[in-house]
Symmetry: C2
Subunit: 314 residues, 2 copies
C-alpha cells in the first residue's frame, strides 16, 4: 500500500470532457483511466450519471464504469445530480457517488433545475438508500457544493450560505464534503476564509477542494487550502475543461502541475510524475482539438529532482 | 498619492525581453512603460546596463532610461551586474539600481563570470559610490539574489547559502533585498522556509520576491511569500520571458494575474486591472512572435467584481 499524504482525484473524464463537443471513444477513456491509475492516481471520477440527451459525452457511462471497476486498486467515482443518477450508480456498484448542488440559488436552478432545499432533501434520500444497501454494495456518498467561491450569475457567494449547505449535507450523512470553485473566482484569502468556516462547522468529516484555474489562482488556492488542513484535491490531467461562458478559459487545475507542487513540498501523492506526464499523449491522440495546459509538461522536472517519497524514505 | 498594500514591479522590459531575439523598437518600449505606469504600476525595471554586445536588446538602455525618467510618478529601475553598470546608472540618474548575483556558484560564474565573493565586494563598492553622491542624485541600491530557490546547474540550493549572501548584501548597505527563483523551481513550502530564514536574519530591510512560473507554482509561491510578510513582487506583463534551457517554458509570473490575485485578496496594488490588460496590445503589436500568457486576459474579471480599493473605501 502506497503512503499518501494527499489524495488527488482525477476529474478530467467528467469535468474536462463534459463541455467538449467531440465524443471520446470508450476505449480511449478506458486507456486513459488505466494509464492514470497505473501512474498512481488513487481515484478517478470516470463519468456522470446524467441523461445522455443532456450530455452525449456520457452516453457510455455504464460501460466506462464497469470497465473502470476492473482496474486494480482504483477508487471509481461518478458525478450524480440527483436520486436517479444515484440509482444508476447503485446498480453498477460504483465505489463513490459525487452528488453535486450549487450554493448559489441561480446556478442550482440552471444546473439541476431545482431549489437548493430540494437538492438537500434529495441528497438525504440518496444517503438513506445507500445505507439500506448490503455492506459490500454500499458506495461512499460525497456531498459537493458548486459555486462555493463565486457564481457566474450571482458574483460573490456569502460564506454563511456555504457553511449552511455544507452543514446540511453533513447532517444528511455525507461521507465527505467537496467545496468547489466551479467558475474559478477564488483567491487564497477567500479560500482560507471559506474552508476554515466550513471545517470548523462540520467537524472531522473530510473536506476536499475542487479548484479551477480560470484566472490563474488555482495552485495558489491549493496552497491556501493545504494550510487549512485540506488533503484532498480534484484536478484534471492537462487542465482539461473550461467554461462555456469564457472562451479559451482553462478548466480544472492541472493534475500534473498539482502533483508536482505537492511532491515538491514533500507531500506524497503516490503519483509517478514522469509516468503521469506520459498519459497526456492518450488525450492528445484521442482529442487533437482539445486545449491542453501544463507547465511541468513544457518545462520538465527541476535538475536533480528528488521525489517526496524518496526524501521521506531517506 | 495612491494607497498601496503591495508594491508590484514590472520586469518584462528586462527579464522578459532579454532572451527575445527580436529588438523591440525604443518607441514601443516607451509606449509600454508609459501605458503601464498610467495603469498604476509604481515601478518598472526598464532595461539592463550590460554591454550591448552581450544583449543587443538593451542597446538603447540610455535612451530608454532617459525617457522613462520623464514619466510622472514612476520609479525607474535598471538591472546591473557590476560597478560598470552602476556607473552608467549614476550618470543617467536612474532611481534604483537592481544589482544581481547568484547564490549558486556555478550560475554566478556563468552569468556574471566571477566568484560570489567578488560580486559581494563589487556590491559594497557600488553602495559606497552611491552614498558618495549628492543627496538628490543618490539611487536606491537593491541587492538581488538569483537562483535562491534552485539552480539549473546545481539543483537545490542550500538555505544557509541564501541567508549568508542576503546578510552580506544587507551588511554591505543594500536598501532592499530581492530573493529570486530564477529558474522556476520553487514550491510554497520552500518559499516559506527560505523567506522566513532570510527575513529573520536581515531585520527590517524590505525583501522582494521574484518568481518565475516555469512549473506553474508562481502564484502559489506569491501566496506563501505574502504569509511571510513579503509585500514587494516582481512580475512581467503577459508573463513574458522564458528560459533558454527550457523551450516553451513560461517566464516571470504574469503581472496581470498577480495584480488580480492580490486585488481579489483585498490587497491594494494601485493598478487598474482593465487598463493593465489593455497594455498587452502594445506588446502584441510590437512583437507578434512573442509568447504571451495570462489567465485573466482570457477569462476576464469575475461577475460583479469589486476592486480592493473600493472595498477598502466602503
Amino acid at each position: 500500500m502506497k503512503q499518501r499524504d494527499v489524495m488527488v482525484r482525477e476529474v478530467g473524464l467528467r469535468d474536462g470532457l463534459q463541455i467538449h463537443p467531440t465524443f471520446m471513444p470508450t476505449d480511449r477513456k478506458i486507456a486513459w483511466i488505466e494509464a492514470e491509475a497505473a501512474a498512481g492516481v488513487p481515484e478517478i471520477e470516470v463519468t456522470s450519471y446524467v441523461p445522455p440527451k443532456l450530455i452525449p459525452q456520457f452516453a457510455d457511462a455504464e460501460e466506462v464504469t464497469r470497465r473502470a471497476l476492473s482496474v486494480p486498486g482504483l477508487t471509481v467515482s461518478a458525478l450524480i445530480p440527483n436520486s436517479k443518477g444515484a440509482g444508476r450508480g447503485f446498480a453498477l456498484g460504483v465505489h463513490k457517488l459525487n452528488f453535486v448542488m450549487s450554493v448559489s440559488r441561480t446556478h442550482n436552478l440552471k444546473n439541476v433545475r431545482r431549489e437548493r432545499e430540494e437538492s438537500v432533501a434529495d441528497f438525504r434520500r440518496i444517503v438513506e438508500s445507500a445505507r439500506a444497501r448490503p455492506e459490500g454494495g454500499r458506495p461512499i456518498v460525497v456531498g459537493g457544493l458548486s459555486t462555493a467561491l463565486g457564481c457566474s450569475y450571482e458574483g460573490r457567494v456569502p460564506v454563511a450560505d456555504v457553511v449552511r449547505y455544507a452543514l446540511q449535507l453533513a447532517e444528511a450523512g455525507a461521507d465527505e464534503i467537496v467545496v468547489a470553485d466551479t467558475v474559478g473566482y477564488a483567491d487564497p484569502a477567500q479560500v482560507r476564509t471559506v474552508f476554515k468556516a466550513v471545517m470548523a462547522e462540520i467537524g472531522a468529516l473530510p473536506v476536499a477542494a475542487h479548484f479551477h484555474d480560470t484566472r490563474g489562482t488555482g495552485l495558489a488556492n491549493v496552497g491556501a487550502a493545504l494550510e487549512c488542513g485540506v488533503r484532498r484535491f480534484d484536478a484534471s490531467l492537462a487542465g482539461l475543461g473550461g467554461c462555456p461562458f469564457a472562451p479559451g478559459a482553462t478548466g480544472n487545475i492541472v493534475m500534473d502541475d498539482l502533483c508536482f507542487m505537492l511532491d515538491s513540498m514533500g507531500l506524497r501523492t503516490g503519483v509517478d510524475l514522469e509516468q503521469l506526464l506520459r498519459v497526456r499523449s492518450i488525450v492528445r491522440e484521442s482529442l487533437p482539438d482539445i486545449a491542453m495546459q501544463g507547465a511541468l509538461a513544457r518545462a520538465g522536472l527541476p535538475r536533480n529532482y528528488v521525489r517526496a517519497e524518496e526524501r521521506c524514505a531517506a
